[in-house]
Structures are given as structure tokens and as C-alpha cells.
């Protein structure tokens, strides 16, 4: 099933929300994308106490796609990113990345919860940028970016620094590489955080409300950098944001969440201009 053949499959989450193949969006600017399935959520349930945040969610994301998750707060968008980053464990269901279990591993023919080592191996392919940046304040900008490539990927120091300089150039902060994060503005810190995530060359980049903690005048700089990355690389993006113009700009697919379910999804022009679902209409009229 692909998004454009069945653009409106509200409520029917059990049959899957394929954020589909090359045809999903005419606006796809990533011809290199091979369109294979990269992320799969299979009946994933997550509860916090008695509150069910995600309810048997099925979801697929295809390689190279840029997917934006929208919806009221508490609807489970951020939980999806945190599950993918293994910051949370699902209560039920499985998550796979490129066919490999992320949260589980095979022991014989039984599926058991993943060891720390296994999930670290798989999650190397996933990068995340946080709302609060979470840069390491005890390291200068350059080392924030080289730390993981050196100690996780085994790059030598020179190669890692070379890579870091290229990325700092991409985010427009070359002259700040020798500063500590606290010496930078919020917008600059967030751009460093983006460079830090990209330095691991992840297949998937998770963006968790990356502009929400920024002063309004700093938002544009960060979004410009992300637009640039979205349009010039074939990285797969999952993005939780309240910046609807940005979502419209970079997304191949927008998913509307409500109460732990995907109630509607489709290309941005459709979701933003002609949503099927009453709940989506309400939400958009409140935020736009």
C-alpha cells in the first residue's frame, strides 16, 4: 500500500501507514532514493503508567523520505522518535531498521529484548537532534562533533576533525569551532547539534521539536540549515515540529497523530489544504 494510491486511510491504522515509495510525493527531490522500507513499527504499544501513548501502532517509513509528525501535544509524536532512538522501550510490538530488530534480537528462534550492545550496534544508523540541544558543555564545539566518530566509528582524529569542519561549514559555524557551547546562542548551539548528529553519517535523522526552545529570531537560521540538508542529501528524516511552513517545505509525507494513533497521512499539500479528518482540520486551524 502506498500513500498516493490510498491517500486517505484514516482510522484504519491496523492495516498500516505506509509512508510510501517514490510516488508518494511529486515533490520528492531525492532521485537517489531507492525507496526500500527503512523503518517499520509493528503493533507498537507504549504506556506510561495507565496512560497509553501509542496504541498498537503500525508504521513504515521508506528510505530517503522526509516525514513530519504533527498533532496535539501528548499524541505520541515524540514518543515515536524516542522509541527509535532507544531512549524508551516499547511495551509491546517490534521496531525494525532496515530489516534488523532495534528493540529485540534473535536468540535461537526466540525474540528477546535487545542487549545494550545489540541496540547500540543498530542505533548507530540513527541520529537525533533534541529540543534542548544537549551539547556536551565540557567539550569545545569541534570535540562535540568528533567525539562519537572517533570513539564509536573508530575514525582517527584527523579524519574526524576534517569531517567536523565540513559539517561546521555546512551549518555556517566554522569560526566557532574553538568555543564552548555556552558561548554560543541557542540557534548556533542547535546547528552544532545538527552537525554532531550528521557526523555519524546516520541513515535516519530524528528531529524532536528542534526549534521550540529557540528565540523567534533564531528559528529561521536553524530551519534553513535543515532545509538545505533535506534538499541536498538522501538522509531519511523524521521530524516532530510545530513549524507548519517548514513541514510543508521539506516533507514528502505528513502524519497527523491523535491519541496515539495516526488518524491521517499524506503529502503535505493535501494534509495542509484539504485534510480529510475533522480532527486534523481543527488542529491545523489552531496552529496555522
Amino acid at each position: 500500500m502506498s500513500a498516493d494510491s490510498t491517500p486517505n486511510t484514516p482510522k484504519n491504522t491496523a492495516s498500516g501507514n505506509d509512508v510510501a515509495s517514490g510516488a508518494a510525493s511529486g515533490a520528492s527531490t531525492n532521485p537517489a532514493v531507492d525507496g526500500s522500507e527503512l523503518i517499520r513499527f509493528d503493533k507498537v504499544t507504549k504506556r506510561f503508567g495507565s496512560h497509553t501513548v501509542l496504541d498498537a501502532l503500525d508504521m513504515n517509513v521508506y528510505s530517503g523520505k522526509h516525514v513530519t509528525l504533527i498533532g496535539p501535544s501528548g499524541s505520541g509524536k515524540t514518543t515515536i522518535l524516542r522509541l527509535l532512538m532507544t531512549l524508551l522501550k516499547p511495551d509491546e510490538g517490534t521496531i525494525t531498521l532496515a530489516g534488523e530488530y532495534l528493540t529485540h534480537e534473535k536468540k535461537g528462534d526466540k525474540l528477546v529484548p535487545a542487549s545494550d550492545k545489540h541496540s547500540r550496534q543498530i542505533r548507530k544508523n540513527i541520529g537525533m537532534v533534541f529540543q534542548q540541544f544537549n551539547l556536551f558543555p565540557n567539550m569545545k564545539v569541534l570535540r562535540n562533533i568528533t567525539e562519537a566518530p572517533v570513539h564509536v566509528l573508530g575514525l582517527d582524529k584527523d579524519a574526524a576533525e576534517e569531517r567536523a569542519r565540513e559539517l561546521l561549514d555546512l551549518v555556517g559555524l566554522t569560526e566557532h569551532l574553538d568555543k564552548y557551547p555556552t558561548q554560543l546562542s541557542g540557534g548556533q548551539q542547535q546547528r552544532v547539534a545538527i552537525a554532531r548528529a550528521l557526523a555519524m553519517r546516520p541513515q535516519v535523522l530524528l528531529l524532536d521539536e528542534v526549534t521550540s526552545a529557540l528565540d523567534p529570531e533564531l528559528v529561521a537560521g536553524v530551519l534553513d540549515v535543515l532545509r538545505d540538508i533535506a534538499h541536498t542529501t538522501d538522509i531519511t528524516m523524521l521530524c516532530v515540529t510545530h513549524e507548519m511552513n517548514f513541514a510543508r517545505d521539506i516533507s514528502d509525507c505528513v502524519m497527523m497523530f491523535d491519541a496515539g494513533r495516526v488518524i491521517e497521512f499524506g503529502p503535505p499539500e493535501q494534509i495542509f489544504t484539504d485534510p480529510e479528518h475533522e480532527r486534523t482540520r481543527e488542529f491545523l486551524s489552531a496552529v496555522l
Binding site: 532512538m85 531512549l87 545494550d116 544537549n134 556536551f136 565540557n138 562519537a148 570513539h151 564509536v152 555556552t182
Partner: protein, 216 residues
């Protein structure tokens, strides 16, 4: 009562020997308290009960019994079990062990104070556990607790005369010996009292300056 300045002069050679011993005990004891305390703090975060439980029992026990009792135990009881240590070694071990249970709490608070986002960022970068501790968590935690650790160094300085009770001739021990031989008590003890102030007060000033620098 007469204050005899010449007695002060007579005491000086012994006094300086005592100062050296006090500072030695303080330096070695502090190093031990810093290192062991970190070991306790990390062990108490272990996911293994067999590691956590004995460490908690040991640190609670040591923290809640008097230093003097511990010193006597190490010095007079351990030999019964075939472990005989010099007074100096016993003193350093006793002081270091005792204060390690306090520094463990300090480290624990420092580690708890590192924002959860730092752990999450380390996870998101797939940093191994050991690297997360060494490069991310501990540098931030320790920076926060340097002033608190410093306060315990000053407290250790003030507890160091207890080592006199097992025969370590630090400042107080030397004063006691001098006064018992010359019967000039006022001079020797006065010198020692002033010496403690001269060491402790600048040290606490230094700490306050350090605190201003570190806690930004």
C-alpha cells in the same frame, strides 16, 4: 601565666616535623577519599545487586561509626588477624576510608545533577557506557562538586589530630610531646592552634574562589 617566646623557638624544629606529617596525611588521605569515594558512588549505580548491596552496607557502616573507633580498630584489632600496619599507614587508610563515605555522597549528588539530556545525547551518539562516563558525565559531575570535596579536605585537616591517638606524630602529637618534656604547654598548643587557622582559613578562601570560577 607567662608566654615564653623562647619556648616557641625551641618548639619549632619539632613543630615543622609535625606540619610535614599533617600535610602528608592530609594529601594522601584526600587522594584516597577522592578515589575510593568515586568507586563507591559508581558501584552504587551498578545494575548488579551483589555489587550495590555490600558497598551500601560498608559505606553506611563506616559513615555512622566514629573515626576514632575505626582508627583503634585498624591499629589494635587488625594485628590480631595478622595485618600489622604502621601508625602512619593506618592513619591515612582510616582517614581516607572514613571520608570516602562522605565524598561518595558528594559524587552521587554531582552525578545526579547532570541533566538527563546529557545521557540521552550520549545514547543518541551510541557512545559506549564507559566513554559516556569518562568523557561526558564525570567531567560535568566532578566540576560541580569540587567545592564540596574541598570542604571535606578542610574537615579532614581538622580531624587529623585524631591520628595522634594511635601514635602518629603530627602537629598535635609533637606539641604534646614537647609540652610533656618541657612543661611549657601554652606555647606549643598555641602554635599548633594558630597553625591550623593559618592552613585552614586560606584554604577555605581558595575554595570559595574556585567555587566562583567553576560554578557558572
Amino acid at each position: 601565666m607567662k608566654f615564653d617566646w623562647s619556648a616557641v623557638g625551641d618548639f619549632m624544629p619539632l613543630f615543622w616535623r609535625g606540619v610535614v606529617v599533617t600535610l602528608e596525611v592530609l594529601a594522601l588521605g584526600s587522594l584516597m577519599a577522592f578515589a575510593l569515594g568515586l568507586v563507591w558512588a559508581l558501584a552504587q549505580r551498578s545494575s548488579l545487586k551483589v555489587v550495590r548491596w555490600p558497598v551500601t552496607a560498608l559505606t553506611e557502616f563506616v559513615r555512622n561509626t566514629p573515626l576514632l573507633v575505626q582508627l583503634f580498630f585498624l591499629f589494635y584489632v587488625m594485628p590480631e588477624w595478622g595485618v600489622t600496619l604502621t601508625a602512619m599507614v593506618t592513619g591515612v587508610l582510616g582517614l581516607g576510608l572514613h571520608y570516602s563515605t562522605y565524598t561518595a555522597e558528594v559524587y552521587r549528588a554531582g552525578i545526579d545533577g547532570v541533566p538527563v539530556g546529557q545521557w540521552e545525547a550520549a545514547t543518541a551518539l551510541s557512545l559506549p557506557r564507559s566513554r559516556t562516563w569518562i568523557a561526558v558525565i564525570l567531567p560535568q559531575a566532578i566540576r560541580r562538586v569540587v567545592p564540596a570535596l574541598g570542604n571535606y579536605v578542610i574537615a579532614m585537616l581538622k580531624d587529623s589530630p585524631m591520628l595522634f591517638a594511635i601514635g602518629v606524630l603530627e602537629m598535635l602529637g609533637q606539641a604534646r610531646q614537647f609540652s610533656s618534656q618541657t612543661f611549657q604547654t601554652v606555647e606549643a598548643y598555641t602554635v599548633v592552634g594558630i597553625a591550623f587557622i593559618l592552613i585552614a582559613y586560606p584554604a577555605s578562601l581558595l575554595l570559595r574562589a574556585l567555587e566562583r570560577r567553576l560554578v557558572r
